[in-house]
């Protein structure tokens, strides 16, 4: 296996934690709510999934627990910002810190333990292609994440539910005036985002790096939030962004392993640099941002 094959084979799995969390945050932001607590929601999902899997509950139940836990904590956030109209930035940060604290508390006696990950499933024919074949050998969660990406794209773009969510994010007053339950839809969107962040954490702790250690999410929740902006709130671009980020971070490691003469500090910061550069290029086109940006993002709804 050479470096290119290594990057192609690992890219999708490396991207999955970012992708799942970013897809959830996309729906939340599309409904007009900014949830900055993703990092903490992921940490909580990670520890809950780990505990369930460690005690023999299986990966499915682990993901269920993580999804429920993430949704439950994000509903606390929803209650604060939608029920009491608190500042979304401050409340999101607080929930994020709470999630990390809870994960450390629950995970105390599981520190540094490991579990078995999931087997990789190879797609027939495709996985035999030289060089790119590795792309088609992934665990089931990666395949499901790709399906989720398609489903969320289709829902937002082509269904009435998607239209309602977008309308509420665009102009909550107008949506309210024609009879849509703004607060209820936002509650649902936030809970969905929390569930997806929980899944993302679960993937990190029981599939990708099957171990639990306090702080193992290591900033991935923040990258997910950045990816939503990076992708200008469009599903396809967020998917590409997650893959790009995953590929570039693997590239940095592969370059070092092959002995390429590039400073490792530069390689470690490359994913961030690439993200910033692409973000800059996208933001340069004001029209594009205006077109896709969510008009009421972060603003509390007053009827």
């Amino acid at each position: 296996m050479n470096a290119i094959e290594f990057i192609l084979a690992g890219m999708l799995a490396a991207a999955t934690p970012f992708l799942l969390a970013a897809l959830g945050e996309l729906v939340v932001e599309r409904a007009g709510v900014l949830n900055l607590g993703v990092e903490g929601l992921m940490a909580l999902g990670a520890v809950l999934a780990f505990i369930v899997v460690y005690h023999g509950g299986g990966h499915v139940m682990g993901f269920v627990a993580a999804g429920l836990g993430g949704a439950a904590l994000s509903l606390v956030f929803a209650l604060v910002v939608l029920g009491f109209r608190a500042n979304q930035v401050a409340a999101g940060l607080a929930i994020g810190i709470l999630g990390q604290g809870l994960s450390a508390l629950f995970g105390k006696s599981y520190e540094s333990l490991t579990v078995k990950g999931l087997p990789k499933l190879a797609l027939p024919w495709l996985s035999d292609i030289p060089v790119v074949g590795g792309l088609f050998v992934q665990d089931v969660v990666v395949w499901l994440s790709l399906a989720a990406t398609l489903a969320i794209w289709a829902t937002l773009a082509y269904t009435k539910t998607g239209l309602v969510v977008r309308a509420i994010g665009e102009n909550p007053k107008a949506a309210h005036a024609i009879g849509y339950p703004v607060v209820a839809v936002r509650f649902a969107a936030v809970a969905f985002g929390g569930m997806m962040a929980g899944f993302a954490g679960a993937y990190a702790a029981v599939v990708y790096t099957p171990l639990w250690a306090d702080g193992m999410i290591a900033g991935r929740g923040w990258i997910a939030i950045a990816l939503v902006v990076f992708g200008t709130w469009l599903t396809g671009r967020i998917f590409l962004g997650a893959c790009l980020f995953g590929a570039v971070s693997l590239m940095g490691l592969a370059a070092q392993a092959t002995g390429l003469d590039v400073p490792s500090q530069l390689l470690s910061s490359l994913p961030y640099l690439v993200t910033i550069v692409v973000l800059g290029i996208i933001s340069a086109d004001r029209r594009l941002l205006k077109l896709n940006g969510v008009a009421s993002l972060g603003e509390p709804f007053d009827r």
Partner: protein, 366 residues
């Protein structure tokens, strides 16, 4: 007695003791109070890793002194103002023996030592010395040299790898000694290093290990990772792996090559003895095999017997001081002379090492 504190319970404790102080005035410490020993570490203490090794080093002290000492471990304290405040508080509470378990605690811990001459401070991996302040570090390189010999004997591809945290001298010397040990068995062996530039990111560490395996490295040195991230990835892929500080054999029953374990108890015990006797003198404690601080344990039975015999010979020579991994001639990775033939690097040259030996294929970050 052992009390495990997290930051949260500590703050709760601080609030309670503050309340008690406000109500009843300060509690005076009598002369026959037990000696309060506090260990502060930056990471959570698990079953393995750096923090675990430090905490375990205090067990024999507790066993020896019983009720005469009271050990408190404060874990997960970030380097910076938080750590300074917590260390100051623990000394203000009457603890007279402080172990600052991370390099980044240096300035705060040194100030505490200067302000409180009756307090003894031990500080991990620093370089500052004061009459009541000793920095301590382990000569991991003595152990990684031995594991390098074993790795070379087991490698089929002739390529070894290391997942390393940061390119600092302590980690560079470990990689260099590992390479030299491997070359002692197979002269043309190569070592690739991936610097992850993080002390703690299990997912990235595991990706790095896989990147090395993709380059056909079939023995991986987990250099300063506190979780079994690399070791468990090795077991999954069926390549040998080893790590520092405490044994992770249970995470890799088949492919665990061994552990460069650190046992801090002889040093901690001697320091506590000296503190109680009033004879403690701050000095740079750079401890290795001869001090019984560094010890390789859990050797993999796959290592051929003749190589194992050689390893044991070298280990004995390191212990009696007749052998050093860093005796010349040693060539640097860029081809220039690192150590002249017959010369041996001194401790202070070793702790300042900023070059790779020939055979390490990854360029050192500048």
């Amino acid at each position: 007695m052992l009390t495990n504190l997290t930051r949260r319970t500590l703050m709760k404790g601080a609030a309670v003791s503050g309340l008690a102080g406000a109500l009843g005035g300060r509690v005076a410490f009598a002369a026959d109070e037990p000696l309060g020993i506090t260990l502060v570490v930056p990471s959570p203490i698990g079953d393995v890793g750096w923090g675990h090794a430090l905490a375990a080093g205090l067990e024999p002290v507790k066993a020896a002194y019983g009720d005469k000492v009271k050990v408190t471990v404060i874990e997960n304290i970030q380097e910076g103002p938080d750590a300074d405040r917590i260390m100051t508080k623990t000394v203000a509470d009457g603890n007279k023996f402080l172990i600052a378990g991370s390099f980044g605690y240096q300035n705060g811990a040194l100030q505490i030592a200067r302000r409180n001459p009756d307090v003894t401070v031990l500080h991990a991996s620093g370089f500052q010395v004061a009459p009541n302040f000793s920095p301590f570090a382990a000569k991991y390189f003595q152990g990684t040299y031995l594991l390098g010999m074993a790795a070379a004997a087991l490698s089929k591809t002739g390529k070894l790898g290391s997942v390393s945290a940061f390119a600092i001298p302590e980690l560079i010397t470990s990689v260099n000694a590992f390479t030299l040990g491997a070359q002692a068995v197979k002269p043309d062996i190569e070592v690739s290093v991936v610097w992850v530039n993080s002390w703690f990111d299990p997912a990235k560490e595991q990706e790095a290990a896989k990147a090395l395996m993709a380059q056909k490295c079939d023995v991986i040195f987990s250099n300063a990772q506190d979780t079994p991230s690399v070791i468990s990835a090795c077991e999954d892929a069926g390549v040998y792996g080893f790590n520092l500080n405490s044994s992770m054999k249970k995470y890799a029953e088949k492919t665990y090559l061994g552990c460069v374990a650190t046992d801090w108890s002889p040093f901690f015990k001697a320091s506590v003895d000296a503190h109680i006797a009033g004879t403690f003198k701050g000095a740079n404690a750079f401890l290795g095999v001869a001090d019984k601080v560094v010890k390789v344990v859990d050797w993999n039975p796959d290592i051929p017997a003749d190589v194992m015999t050689k390893i044991k010979e070298i280990e004995a020579k390191i212990a009696d001081g007749s052998f050093s991994p860093f005796t010349g001639p040693i060539t640097k990775a860029d081809g220039s002379e690192g150590v002249a033939a017959g010369a041996t690097l001194t401790d202070s040259e070793i702790v300042a090492m900023d070059w790779h030996v020939k055979g390490v294929t990854t360029p050192l970050p500048k």
